[in-house]
């Protein structure tokens, strides 16, 4: 079974000698929506970072295949150009770089050519309107002085413009008010039907708006249980105690 969009098999990862992931198995096919839930420190964000090639993590075992090819062979920027997108839990601020400039360069890099000015402006306007973002955002410096909600909106705006094949959304719902949550959920739901999605979240409320095909529970660096949307409902009501006890 190697024809999945993303196939993670027995993945072991450590940071400076400390094991974080201890044998993760995950398979996401094109068009599927997966959610990972779990206690703090379970390794959810680590998994997303490793998938995107963060240099701080060492893969000590297992394999990751993206679109049928080993992911380890790709540099970080090559993963982005190959259609992978990570919405950061804590995106970096880059003072002095205006959002508009950053978006144009990023889109040009991922698409392989600079977008036509007018077409890009129209595209940007449509996406920003959908997210309820003011045009003044474009002149601000990337994430510099942004509130938590503004950062998350900018992440989703990038996702909409970059049109990924696999979207990794790391706690994109945290820090969002109800209206913003709906706007973000709308953006995720409007991704092309072939796009795979991995949602990392602590809360069921996002999963009410973006209904996952599969919910995974991660404990101590392993996925210990899988199920449908009803699993998120069960976790909401009973917490993780029962699963941890098992």
């Amino acid at each position: 079974m190697t024809d999945g969009l993303l196939v993670v098999e027995d993945l072991h990862v450590e940071v400076e000698g400390t094991p974080i992931l201890n044998g993760v198995d995950l398979r996401i096919n094109a068009g599927e929506r997966h959610a990972i839930m779990g206690l703090n420190g379970a390794g959810k964000s680590t998994l997303a970072s490793v998938l995107m090639g963060h240099p701080a993590y060492q893969i000590t075992g297992g394999s990751i295949t993206y679109n049928g090819a080993p992911l380890e062979d790709l540099e970080v920027f090559e993963r982005a150009r190959a259609g992978m997108f990570l919405s950061f839990q804590y995106p970096s601020a880059i003072p002095g770089v205006q959002v508009g400039t950053f978006l144009r360069r990023s889109v040009a890099a991922v698409r392989g050519e600079a977008p036509k000015a007018k077409a890009f402006r129209d595209e940007l306007k449509t996406a920003m309107d959908a997210l309820g973002m003011d045009r003044s955002f474009l002149a601000r410096y990337v994430n510099d002085g942004f509130s938590g909600g503004e950062k998350k909106r900018l992440e989703i705006l990038q996702m909409m413009l970059l049109q990924p094949r696999l979207a990794l959304l790391d706690e994109t719902d945290s820090g969002l008010d109800i209206d913003a949550m709906r706007a973000v959920a709308g953006a995720i739901n409007s991704l092309p039907s072939s796009c795979g999605v991995l949602l990392i979240t602590h809360y069921k409320r996002l999963l009410d708006l973006v209904v996952p095909d599969v919910v995974h529970v991660m404990i101590n660096g392993r996925i210990v249980e899988r199920g449908g949307p009803e699993l998120a409902e069960r976790l909401e009501q009973h917490g993780y105690d029962g699963i941890v006890a098992q």
């Binding site: 540099e75 920027f77 995106p91 970096s92 601020a93 880059i94 770089v97 990023s106 991922v110 970059l162």
Partner: protein, 364 residues
Amino acid sequence: MTVTRPAPLRSIHLWRHTPWSWMAPDAHSVSPLHVELHPPTPSCLAEGGGVDLHQASEDRFSTMVRAHEYTRPDVEDVARATLAELAYGGQHLDLHGDLTEVVHVDLVARGEVCAGRLHVRCTGHATLHIHLSGSAAWCGLHLTGQVTDGAHLAVAITDELGKDARFVRCDDWHVGRDARLTSGTLSTGGFRRKSDLRHHLNGTGGDVRIGIAVHGRGERHDDHHVEIHHHLGHTTSSLVANTACGDASRSIGTGRLVIAPGADGSDAGQVFRNLLLSEAARADAIPELEVLADDVAAAHGAASAAIDEGQVHYLMCRGLDRSTAEDLVVEGFLAAAFGELKHERVVGVLRDRLVVHLDCAQEW
């Protein structure tokens, strides 16, 4: 002409990091700095507005030096004195009324040794771009200015001197009551550079905002000394100096913020930030405060760091390769020096020049 003025001791703070012997011009005939004014279109001139360039009287410059001297008589003003010897006379640029377009002044340095002086007087609202270029091996510029009561002058100063050039710049600016000077400098050209920039807030309500971006490459040496004197109370100032040093370049930024006795209600801050892009690069930032009044707000800070790998990773996650990502971080870091200027036209001029410079720098 031979300049025989004795060099100041290196114990003098101003010349500690960049001795005058490194900066003094060699014995050569001196060419005057060519001043070319590109006036704005008449449609941008409000009634009574105008731009005039003419020969300046000598006292335009000596007055400026004397006005400074009473605040610090112990410094040997060798650079100003040398410029006075080399460039007797100078040009006077008069900006009056409200100008809605940028006034461009090109300064062209020709010959081996080239020196010039320019006095700017602003009585309205104006934006000025002074651009220095040319092939001179040594270039000296004494820039003086007066922003009269209630006026607002915004200045962008850029250069593209040759990569072997030495450049000495001295500024003396006086800002009147309820007046504002907004000044941005993009320092990219030349091999060795010493700037001694002094600003005087002479009237209550006066405001000075300074942004300086320095890009070091090769073995470039850039020394910026910036003084801001609050002579009266209820005056405000800010200084942001961002330096990105690569290769084996060296940068020094020294700030001197003086709040005179009785200048209560003054509000001032200065920040120096250094971005070190290589092991061999070196940058020093030394902000100093002399607060002689009781009720003031004064802050200073300095920081040096390597390029932030988190920022680079974030950009790479958006499809930029490492080199492009690092260049964008550097561009942003330098452009951020102008953020506090809060003047769209000046920031636009400086940002455009910065982007051109960095594009060219990749092939340097």
